[in-house]
Symmetry: C2
Subunit: 121 residues, 2 copies
DNA sequence: CTAAATAGTGCGTAATTGATACTTAGTACC
DNA sequence: GGTACTAAGTATCAATTACGCACTATTTAG
């Protein structure tokens, strides 16, 4: 098994696996990856695609993903002013491993729902 | 592309993909899956393996995963009193798709670190 | 009844997330 | 120049969620 043990918070921070997972398995990151999979999008497009994300949170997530090298941010001076976001090679590489997880989610949604109903009884 | 659009919170709650992802991509769930991959473990063993999780949070996560059918909880009346946790078939099925993500994290840790250093400059 | 070992809870605090309204930037029109 | 229009964020404060620590509960041996 991979070593994910961490006796202290400091250990956890230096564990490569944990460090990476914490950057990509939040509530919004995977949705942003999916939205950008096939083509670059502007800020407003991303916001509309995800739908229920607030601009503040979208900005935070995009900054973090840019900082970690998953996507690039390009400013096109207008009119109209436009900023586009695009996955990097590493971003596309990550999408290859996360998509099976997304498909798994789609395939197993009903089993989980069934388990939940059964558990309640 | 898969549809992950949600115009309202209610939409988001009923989106199968989002619903499943929210249950398995938290801070601790993947670590718990990894710890249980090869064999069942008792509460205290899990706590020591993960290392920096508090009992309260471990309990919460185990309850949630049990409720959703990813693992089973078995009480062995003592002495000493023991409670063991074990992945279900669905739990093992999920581990198959999440392990590539974990390996990806291990493989790409340095690229991300490099991107971060470059971005800072 | 007391003790020892394992499993879990309760409660107050800290960090994150969220909603809403506001600010900045670039350009065109008057 | 001044006003307006559109896109891209920010600021502020409230609400939610997660965390840390100490405490409680259960089971059986002596």
């Amino acid at each position: 098994m991979l070593d994910i043990t961490a006796l202290t918070k400091e250990d956890a921070a230096t564990c490569p696996v944990r460090s990476v997972l914490s950057k990509v398995t939040g509530k919004w990151q995977i949705l942003i990856f999916l939205a950008l999979e096939d083509e670059s999008h502007r800020f407003g497009e991303l916001k509309r695609t995800v739908g229920d994300i607030t601009p503040r949170v979208l900005t935070e997530n995009l900054k973090s993903l840019e900082r970690d090298g998953f996507l690039t941010r390009t400013v096109h001076s207008g009119p109209p002013l436009a900023v586009s976001y695009e996955l990097t090679e590493m971003g596309h590489s990550f999408i290859k491993v996360i998509k099976p997880v997304v498909f798994w989610a789609g395939d197993n949604f009903q089993s989980i729902d069934a388990a939940r109903k059964k558990f309640a009884s």
